[in-house]
Each structure stands twice: as C-alpha cells, then as structure tokens.
Symmetry: D2
Subunit: 191 residues, 4 copies
C-alpha cells in the first residue's frame, strides 16, 4: 500500500482542481490510498517571524501530513500566467522546518483550468520550486487539463472519459514513480 496526499491549489469551494483530485481515488489502483488535503486555507502567509518559537499549528499539520505520506500529488490552477500565490505559499512553508517535509518526497503535478492554456507555466514553476526544495518530482506523464467546465457534470463529478483515462494513467505512473524513488536515498543539497 502507498499513501498519497492530494492537495488542490485553489481555496475556492467549487475548485476544479480539488474536484479532479476527488475523482482520483476511484481511478487509482487499489494499492494507492489517496486522501485529499482540505485545510490549505488555514496555512497563513509565510513569515520567518511566525516560525518562532514554532510554526503555526496549521503549518505543522500540513507538514506532518506531507511527511507521513509516501507521495504527494498537487493540482494547481494558473493565475496570471504563473503559479498561484496560495500554492507557492504552501511550498514556502514546506521548504522549512526540520526535517524538511518535502525533501526526497516523490511528488506528482497536474493542473486544470477553465481557460485554454492548461496551466503550462504554473506547472513549470511548481516543478522548479519543488525541485529546489529537494522533492523528487515525477517528470512524465504531465497532465494539462483545460476547458474545465466541460469536464464535470452538474454535481462536480469528473465525467469526461478521456480525462478520466489520463488521470488513471497519471496515477498508475505516479505509483511506479514512488516505488522507484524509494529505492535508495541519494539526494544531496545544492552546492
């Protein structure tokens, strides 16, 4: 069994990115136990001043959830041709603390947008920032979902067949990635 923490990068109640992740458990292999993180709104804006004497409770909960999972999947929107502040703020907290929760952690990235452009740049920036924190981001497959309004039914269920297939393939590849990464710990630090 592999435990996967799935984090949607939008705080909106009806967020497309969270909905995609909510469809994941039914599409994943039985060996993948996916839980959707749902308290990102409590993770306050980062400041070093808030780290003393210890990080806020919501940050500690997030760090613990990430550290406890075998792998993490992040679904991100794209705002202003770049990574949303909400997602980057989460990364900024996760990059700190002892130990660093995302270090050596297998991470998968995807994103969905109501627009045409598929979160290409946001995912690129997210991949870069996570790598800088020591996470081991799955390089392929990459999942860029657009025209979000067409993918879900009125109840917010992911019904687009092609997207469901892509997501299932993504999750299967991610399980293999987690296994590969867990082989040996080889990560060093930037020089």
């Amino acid at each position: 069994m592999l435990s996967v923490l799935a984090i949607g990068g939008s705080l909106r109640r009806d967020s497309f990115n969270r909905r995609v992740l909510q469809a994941a458990p039914a599409l994943a292999l039985p060996a993948l136990q996916i839980s959707v993180y749902d308290d990102l709104a409590s993770v306050t804006l980062f400041s070093e001043d808030l780290e003393v004497p210890r990080a806020p409770a919501a940050v500690e909960r997030l760090r613990h959830a990430v550290a406890s999972a075998d792998g993490v999947v992040i679904a991100t929107p794209e705002y202003n041709q770049s990574l949303p502040g909400v997602v980057k703020n989460m990364i900024d907290w996760l990059s700190r603390g002892e130990p660093v929760a995302v270090e050596d952690k297998p991470v998968g990235i995807l994103g969905v947008t109501p627009g045409a452009w598929g979160t290409r740049i946001a995912q690129s920036q997210l991949r870069h920032a996570l790598t800088a924190c020591g996470a081991i981001v799955m390089p392929m497959p990459q999942l860029y979902l657009r025209s979000a309004a067409e993918l879900f039914d009125a109840d917010g269920q992911l019904i687009d067949a092609r997207t469901r297939d892509s997501l299932a393939a993504f999750l299967a590849a991610f399980a293999a990635w987690v296994h590969k990464v867990r082989g040996t710990a080889i990560q060093g630090r930037s020089a």
Copy 2:
C-alpha cells in the same frame, strides 16, 4: 511630482527588502514621492469566494493605494528559487477587480537576498506575472542585490555605497519610465 508606492515582498519585521525601500526616499529625486506600503500581512490568501460581495477590506486598501500611485516599486525576496507566495498572492489580488489596479501601471522591480544569487529567478517570475496583468514593467536597469547582511548597519540603514548609487540610479530611471509610460495609453488585452 510623481507618487510611488513601494512594496516590500517579505512580511518579516526586519526584512532586507523593506529596508532597501526605506532607504529609497532619501536617494530619489525630490520630484519622486515614495511611500512604503506596510500592510501586506493583512492581504489574505486569495480565493474567488472572498470576492463576493466584495473583496476584503485590506485588499481594497491595497488596490486603492496601487491605483492612486503614479508608479509602483516592488522589492522581492527569492524563496526556493522562485517568487515568494506572499508576493504572488498580492499580484493575484491586484490582477482582479474592476478596474484592474495594475493595468497600464508603471512598475519597477528589484530584490535583495542574504544569499549569493540575487533573486534572479524571483524577479524574472515577478516581471512575467505583472506583465500578464497588464502592468508596464521597467525593463532596465535591473537591480539584483545579494549578501544583504553586508549592506546594512546595525540599525538597518543601507550603508553600502555601491548599492546606494545603484538604487539612486534605479529610482531616477524609474521616474523617467513613469513619464514615458504615461505618454499615451496603448495597452490592449491578450488575444
């Protein structure tokens, strides 16, 4: 007279980026009236759900301060080889509302870091995001300040002579950029 709103992208009390901006008024031409924005910590994490019926009061204050200024200068740290979530979250709020506060607004970018690498990537991402919002970012000069601890005295005053000269030149160029941009409004929207 040109009014300039200066925003430091770190919430830390002793932030190097805020300190650089606090040195700006004494280094700028008399025609540049620089005020340092100091309530970024109140700008909550972005969510579309918070825009109804209207954006939070702190967001509205920020938008009004930006809209009222002739130009905006942002000093950003770099976290995890990328733009801090705090700064991007501010941009995400500024990119919304009617009218968009940063649209057609002249903006100058700089950054300071205690490390060696000078906020190169953070500034690149900030420039890109601001441009995507319709801001008119000054292309040159670019100001990358590193080894921050060596630039200030014990009271947090910017004492490094070369940095003071660079900042003065940056501000003089920014005044010229504001004048150039205000010539005519020519911005369209992405197609």
Copy 3:
C-alpha cells in the same frame, strides 16, 4: 512611416510563423512598413571565437537589419516547452557587438503552433531574454496562436478571420508602442 523588421523563428520552408508574418503587411496600417527577414538559416551557431576579428557576415547583416529598423517583430515556435535554439541563437548574436543592435529597440512577440498550447512558454522565455539584452518588449497585447493548420489555406495564406483581426490589432498596438518607446531614451544597464 515606421519600418518594422519581422523575423520568423523557424527555418522550415513552410513555417507557420513565417506565414503569419507574411500576412502582416496587408493587415498593418499604411504607416507601418514591414519587411520579413529571410536569412536566419545563415546565422551560424554562436561562439565567441567567431567574433574575432569580426562577426560572420550573415550576423552583421542581421545586426544591421535590426539596428536600421524602428521596431522588430519576432514570431516564434515552441519546441520542448521552450524557446527554439534557432531563435535563442539569434538573440545571443544580437546581444553582442558594438553597439548592441537590440538595445532600446521596441520589440513585439507572437507565436503560432500546430499544437494546442500556443507557444506560451517560448514567448515567456523570449520576452525575458530580449529584456535582458536591453530591448523594450511590448507587454500587451500578447498573441498566442494555436491549431495552426486550421488558420491557413492550401496556398499558405492566413485566412482565419479572428486571427487576422488579432494580428491587425497587434500591429496597431505595436506601432503605438514604437512611438511611445521612441519618446526618450531612458534605458540603463543591469546593476
């Protein structure tokens, strides 16, 4: 009258990006005199060793064409989620020499792709590199053209009405951008 040099970033004979530029003269205001540069294939791979005693003749011709134009428009493909080597190699040559041909030069960027993703990342990287060279890149409107095969007829003529309108608006905005930039020379260099 404004003279505009239009450069297509693909060497392929039937390049979509060159075809878009070939449609530009008929869509531009009469005051815009657009000529399409057609010898990028002769611009060899950059090496400092080739700059002594002077840059290759094809490089000098390119530099002269850029320096002589009032503005430059570059249409770029996207390869591997990034700027093509052919385009960046051209920039690398243009960033050198005395004077630097692109310095203070107004530049417009667009791109067309047969795929779905509209050269978003390539344009972002091109904008960044040009800015680093001292060019003054038009921030908006941005023109991302996709599904290229549907935009042209069998003779390679740009027939898609919406694209023609977008291109005409882009060119009109670029003319205004050139006028704005030429107001005063204010560019400094990176510090």
Copy 4:
C-alpha cells in the same frame, strides 16, 4: 561500469564549461567512465526540412552517443539570463528521431560562468526542456559555479578545491541517480 557522456554547452575553444567537464574523469568514481563530447559545433541549426530523408550526419552521431551512454551530463553557460541557443539547439535535435535519444535517459545538469550569477536561469530552462523531452533529470545536488576565472590555473586545469569537491560529490550523486532511474522504465508521455 556506467558510461557517461559529458557535453559542454559552449563552442568556444577555451570554454569554462568544457574545462569543468574535462576535470570530471579524475574526480569520478572508477565505475564512472566519462567521455567528453567534442563535436557540438557540427550540429547544425535545427529545421524539420533537414530531417528528410534523414537527419544530418553530425546529428546522428550526437544521437547515437547519447543513446549509447548510460547517462548524460550537460554543463551550460548562461547567455542573456537564459539558456544559450547552442544548447537548446542540441536539445531540439535530441528531442526528435526514432527512438528519442534522451527519453528515459538520466541527465545531470551543471554550469559555470565568469560572472556572478551562476547560470541559475539557464539551468532552470535546461532542466525544463530536458524534462519535456522525457529525460529524467537529477534534481539534486545542483551545481552553480561562478567567477570562473578564479577556478582554473593558466593551463585550464580546475584547481579550486571547493569546486573540485562539489564536482566529485555531484558525480557520485549522478552515478546513484543513474542506478535509481534504471531500476524500472516507467515513463509515459504528456497527455
């Protein structure tokens, strides 16, 4: 034994990046057989027209060298705050052909610059483009070398002790990365 192809991204005869790679064999574990590729200048500017009936001979040699190696290490300069055209042009060729030479290939990235900024952005763009081609780029350690002129002696030998240690650690980590990646083939394609 692992065979590693080392490619310097500058064509200059006295290139710092090539010199760093030339120091690699003496610093690597005996199990790492490193050969420096030295014919990048023959890899012509990419054009789809040149792929028919088959790619140029120099491209085929490069592809064969990459495909035959167990891993590839690329040392890149940074020009104009971005990846040099010479390096990206190589990637553009390597991303094509059947099979794609870099697909599922372990790749390590480093860079050296005479300036202060350590090829931060160039490496970021190189990592992104390689990942888009299906390569499996080592996330850490990252090696950013600056002030190149101080690292070598008059004969071009890498003599800076700290840099030699960093490079040795980088190569040891890369050997482990190659072993990890070769565990199982799990790569899919972008969806």
